[in-house]
């Protein structure tokens, strides 16, 4: 029979990483004495864990699991791939729009050209990730 694809962690690996990063941010903010932001991030981490555990319960809906990044089987992963592919395409288009808008604004308002580096970097990074993902998918199929 097929093996269920749950990890031994109480939440999925991506959620564990996300929660760890948020908790580390909360601790860092606490050390810096920025208590409001620290408590805010702590609340976000608790909400994220709660959402993941809610999605992992036996009777949860597929859309609940996919939105919480708690995939149970191949169909959940297929749905997530379809969703993320749309997100990627939209991110690429928005990055091009952002780059053009910022280029126009920087030229018009005499802002430092360094302001353009962020959208250029974002666009380049997205293109590199896209190419790498395509290459990976082509080699695996």
């Amino acid at each position: 029979m097929s093996t269920p694809t749950r990890s031994r962690l109480p939440v999925s690996v991506p959620n564990a990483v996300l929660v760890t990063v948020v908790v580390a941010g909360a601790v860092a903010l606490g050390v810096l004495g920025r208590w409001f932001e620290a408590w805010l991030l702590a609340a976000v981490s608790v909400a994220a864990v709660g959402s993941a555990l809610h999605a992992r319960r036996p009777g949860s809906r597929d859309i609940t699991r996919v939105n919480a990044i708690e995939y149970r089987d191949e169909r959940d992963r297929s749905i997530a791939r379809a969703g993320f592919s749309v997100v990627g395409a939209v991110a690429l288009v928005l990055s091009v729009v952002e780059f053009v808008v910022i280029a126009v604004v920087v030229a018009a308002r005499d802002w430092p050209p360094a302001v353009q580096l962020v959208p250029i970097g974002q666009l380049l990074l997205l293109c590199v990730v896209w190419a790498a993902a395509n290459s990976y998918a082509a080699r695996r199929s």
């Binding site: 097929s2 269920p4 597929d62 699991r65 149970r72 169909r75 959940d76």
Partner: protein, 65 residues
């Protein structure tokens, strides 16, 4: 893709949840396969066929859409 999953499941008196547990997927996946909304991977198709002591070709009509 048309399949005989519902027919075979009901013939054995299994619920979607019980079949889903037996082959390691969610109930929604079994429902999606039965209603033709989702084509299972080859691995899952083989697991389903084995579960019903059948073959993939007997269970799934690949010519129907």
């Amino acid at each position: 893709m048309n399949s005989r999953v519902r027919e075979l499941r009901q013939a054995r008196g299994l619920s979607q949840e019980a079949l889903a547990r037996a082959v390691g997927v969610s109930r929604q996946t079994i429902n999606a396969i039965e209603t033709g909304r989702y084509d299972p991977s080859l691995r899952l198709a083989v697991h389903l066929a084995r579960h019903f002591d059948s073959t993939v070709e007997e269970m799934f009509d690949v010519d129907a859409h």
